[in-house]
């Protein structure tokens, strides 16, 4: 129960950071590879399944309160302008309109690191917030938006990052278009020397598109005041982040803001930040004295709430004849949109393989388009596609099997820090994955396929952090009747958080899952956990849950020892009963112990332990794709994906497999379908609905085979878990692109691999 403060290093919302954290003073023995577990790891059906299949699950989008009002946002129609005037009088006169908020009557609340305010007089992209209307109904609010007259002084704009980097470009902000005024530079060794010593060098440019999260539940928020206390229901991946952003924006104590999110309809990284809309809802609600629900429509979802930045990556590799990598370099830039963010994607190149000489130079560039946000494995998805294409190209030039080239450059330590990994089982992933796809038997020499339909097999590797870490807490309340309540201030995006928390409590306390209730997603009733992104949730929160449960068991055992008048060492805990080893009929149930303590509820709070010092924690994997290309239509069909991954312990195989399916299909649609299209002449986005923006349907489902090569990583934490949300999507596009190359013998270097690009590449080959 006692805690200590230690130095801690973990991957969080600010990237990999050195910090201090409160952690348990002692560690529990980790569930290692040979731990015999009865509930954890089993394919338990998700706890929230019943509510979700019956329509009873209440999402933020469904929250309905008495006297509810409805707010909609008016967004800039132009990519860059100064607002000369806004006339809201007609809108205000419309019956049913309760409040119109614009820059004229809204406090100047800073946003995006003081680069703008809640309602700015200068709008910097099509979709920037101009005004907000609250009304008696959604329909009236929408009508009122059309009655607001905005007088824009149109300014020059830029949408292409290459153009934006030029000094002659229109400026998105007066201080310039390049984040930090220059590239993020990393180097080790001497890259020019490395290229000089290489037997072969290969260089090419790869590019990726902007894709949009498009979760099904729109970004939305409901705000309601009771006196000076504000409750906000928010579709968010970061409860406490939203709470603090709202409190800060409204200059009120965090204790007066409660953020609730029981269920959310997907996030994928887009809901990691507090949205302006949540603050706007709170402001209007306070003013009109009624609850406000604010939701985005699909167009706003495609314009204004984030995307994965694009990338142009000039990559170069140098190697010896035997395939040993001697040097790697990257020059790249990506479009972050109108407000600061990062578009870096060089980590895979820096860390996937052993290579002594590396240099990366990465620019994040502002343009007059919607701002990017974290999106499922930010940077790694773009970077892995390009880098693994380069490695594939290099293998071809060397006359080597691409898989052998990767094995040849396997690294046992992290090439950036020099530290060993807590575990790294990528060689097993190569071995088992290649066997499952038929790498040796089925894969034909690149470009040897003839005829209209040509098949190919390709692969790509993956690295991600995802070890989680402190701070994360979990509370267990054990009732006298033997039922338990697990509470943690974390989030479930559909990833199975509810379920694994119950499984862990059930495992340790040996009480049936149906007697366990889980509450997450509430800043007021739950202990603190971090945001749900970066594949952090399970590896951060599961050890805290186990700690809470183990403490509860200790508590019961020490009470049992006093009640049964014997030392704890003479006690056995089994199926919610405590019995003496020497006299097994002297036994007490949980209910009896709690009853004798004269408590109705026993409470413990567990914490995530520190990550081990001196190690890197990473997840690894490899995906193998088999594709068929129709050379007449240019269409690529993914036949099969084999995903072989090292992800530590599996908490629940059923939800794990599902999340892998999702990541892989999203990765395949990134490779083949999705793209935000912008008209460069007007600066407007052309793909603002999900007819024009291509999302995969059930018909785009390939055969998927999942192989987990890991059992547990006891060095990381007491549960031995690594996160998997992101590893699932990282290598998919690279594997597909390499399979297309194997099928056709021509490289498609830009995503998505659409039929026009395939046909163009084929025509150039002839």
């Amino acid at each position: 129960m006692s805690r200590k403060i230690v130095k801690s290093r973990y991957f969080g919302d600010e990237g990999l950071i050195e910090t201090v954290s409160e952690v348990p003073a002692e560690k529990h023995k980790a569930w290692g590879p040979d731990a015999e577990l009865k509930v954890v790891g089993k394919p338990v059906s998700r706890l929230d399944g019943y509510e979700k299949v019956t329509g009873k699950a209440v999402f933020t989008f469904d929250v309905d309160l008495p006297r509810m009002t409805y707010a909609r946002i008016l967004r800039s129609a132009v990519p860059h302008a100064k607002i000369k005037n806004i006339d809201t009088s007609e809108a205000e006169d419309l019956p049913g309109v309760l409040k119109v908020l614009t820059y004229k009557n809204c406090p100047k609340i800073p946003w995006h690191w003081n680069t703008t305010v809640l309602f700015d007089e200068r709008v910097r992209y099509q979709g920037d917030e101009v005004a907000c209307v609250a009304a008696e109904s959604e329909a009236v609010a929408e009508e009122a938006l059309r009655l607001i007259r905005v007088d824009y002084e149109v300014l020059p704009f830029v949408t292409d990052p290459a153009e934006a980097m030029k000094s002659s470009s229109a400026k998105v902000h007066d201080w310039g278009n390049i984040i930090d005024e220059g590239p993020a530079v990393y180097f080790r060794g001497d890259v020019e020397k490395g290229f000089g010593e290489s037997d072969l060098t290969f260089e090419d440019t790869y590019s990726t598109q902007v894709v949009v999260h498009n979760p099904t539940e729109p970004h939305c928020s409901v705000a309601s005041w009771e006196g000076d206390k504000l409750t906000v229901w928010d579709s968010t991946q970061a409860l406490f982040g939203v709470r603090d952003a709202i409190a800060k924006s409204l200059s009120m104590p965090s204790s007066k803001v409660r953020v609730i999110k029981k269920y959310m309809g997907g996030g994928f990284g887009g809901k990691l930040e507090a949205g302006k809309y949540s603050v706007i809802a709170a402001l209007i609600s306070k003013e009109i004295g009624r609850p406000v629900r604010i939701t985005m429509d699909r167009k706003e979802m495609n314009l204004s709430v984030g995307n994965r930045p694009d990338s142009v990556q000039r990559l170069k590799a140098g190697a010896k004849k035997d395939g040993t990598l001697l040097a790697l370099s990257q020059y790249s830039y990506g479009n972050v949109g109108a407000y600061p963010n990062g578009a870096d994607c060089g980590t895979p190149l820096r860390s996937l393989y052993k290579c002594p000489n590396v240099r990366t130079e990465e620019y994040s560039v502002l343009t007059n388009l919607g701002r990017s946000r974290a999106y499922r494995a930010p940077g790694h998805v773009q970077g892995t596609f390009a880098f693994e294409s380069l490695i594939d190209d290099l293998a071809y030039k060397l006359g080597m099997d691409p898989l052998e080239l990767r094995k040849k450059n396997f690294t046992e330590v992290d090439p950036i820090s020099g530290r060993p990994y807590t575990s790294k089982r990528i060689l097993e992933a190569y071995e088992q994955g290649s066997k499952a796809i038929g790498w040796l038997e089925k894969r034909k020499p690149t470009g040897s396929e003839q005829g209209r339909f040509r098949r190919g097999i390709g692969m790509a590797s993956q690295i991600w952090w995802g070890g989680g870490g402190p701070p994360a807490y979990c509370t267990i309340k054990l009732n006298q009747d033997g039922s338990a309540h697990v509470l943690a201030g974390t989030q479930d995006l559909g990833t199975g958080t509810y379920t694994f928390l119950a499984q862990i409590a059930s495992e340790v306390l040996e009480i049936p899952i149906d007697k366990i209730e889980v509450t997450i997603g509430d800043t007021e009733t739950c202990p603190y956990c971090g945001l749900s992104g970066g594949s952090l949730t399970a590896p951060s929160v599961s050890p805290a849950a186990r700690d809470a449960a183990e403490q509860m068991k200790s508590k019961l055992l020490s009470a049992g020892a006093a009640l049964l008048e014997t030392p704890e060492s003479n006690l056995k805990y089994s199926s919610g009963r405590i019995s003496r080893l020497d006299e097994p009929d002297k036994a007490l149930s949980i209910s009896e112990v709690i009853g004798k303590l004269h408590e109705k509820v026993l409470v413990t709070t567990g914490a995530r332990e520190a990550n081990p010092e001196g190690y890197e924690i990473n997840s690894f994997g490899a995906q193998f794709a088999e594709v068929e290309v129709d050379t007449e239509t240019g269409r690529v069909r993914v036949l099969k994906i084999v995903a072989a991954h090292d992800i530590g312990r599996v908490l629940n195989y059923k939800t794990l497999l599902n999340q892998f399916h999702g990541g892989i299909i999203q990765g395949a649609s990134y490779a083949l379908l999705e793209e935000r299209v912008v008209d460069e002449y007007t600066g407007k986005v052309l793909t603002t609905n999900i007819h024009d923006y291509k999302l995969p349907t059930v018909k785009d489902t390939p055969e998927i085979e999942l192989i987990i090569v890991s059992d547990s990583d006891p060095l990381i934490s007491n549960t031995g878990v690594k996160g998997i949300g992101e590893p699932a999507i990282i290598p998919t596009a690279g594997a597909i692109a390499n399979a297309v190359y194997n099928a056709l013998g021509v490289r498609i270097k830009s995503l998505p691999i659409t039929p026009d690009k395939v046909l163009m590449a084929l025509s150039e080959k002839i």
């Binding site: 059906s45 998700r46 399944g49 509510e51 299949v53 019956t54 329509g55 009873k56 699950a57 999402f59 989008f61 469904d62 309905d64 007609e90 019956p95 959604e138 009236v140 059309r146 009655l147 007259r149 905005v150 007088d151 824009y152 002084e153 149109v154 300014l155 020059p156 979760p215 099904t216 539940e217 269920y263 959310m264 309809g265 997907g266 994928f268 429509d297 699909r298 995006l493 559909g494 990833t495 059923k654 939800t655 497999l657 599902n658 399916h661 999702g662 892989i664 299909i665 999203q666 649609s669 002449y681 007007t682 600066g683 999900i690 999302l695 349907t697 059930v698 018909k699 489902t701 998927i704």
Partner: protein, 210 residues
Amino acid sequence: MSKDSKNGGISRRKFLQGMGSGIIGTYVLTPAVSSATEKLTKNAEKLRLTMPLTMKVNGKQVHIQVEPRTTLAEVLREQLGLTGTKVVCNNGECGGCTVLMDQKAVYSCHILALDCSGKEITTIEGLMKADKLNPVQEAFIEHDGLQCGFCTPGQIMAAEALLLKNSRPTRDEVLEGMSGNICRCAAYPNIIESVLSAADKLRNESSSMK
């Protein structure tokens, strides 16, 4: 595209030229738009007139007043409190709002409520019999045919409609029947398994009844 400045509004072509060459210009939404807004306001008043609607929802007759512009999805969610039906695109593109109308799957965001007069509507809330899950719902839990759950009511209603029409769907028929419903979490492999397994269940139930 309309001719330049004819109706006093902004000339799109000139505007484009201005933007393209980087000229800083001003445009104000003036007379043409203004008269349009007047019309809009008048229309709005007209629209706010409500009309009576009678339909059957989940087995019960409902008599309500609705505005002519209101969609079935809006009536279900806002007037009848049946929030199991989700609105994702509000544009007939994703199937999130799928309900049954006279036993056929429809996108409720794309149907005006007044067009449902006399129809029989079934929503996700109407699938359970007393406390018992419908076989499709059971199969979605068992085969984990969902992640975040937001598209799930629509998926289940689409599956229900498919199985009402075809109790022995092949895998391809399941793909066809479910292709109008987008799942962004991409739980598709499990959705396919859920529907196939529900079909088996339903067949077993009906054969055991015989």
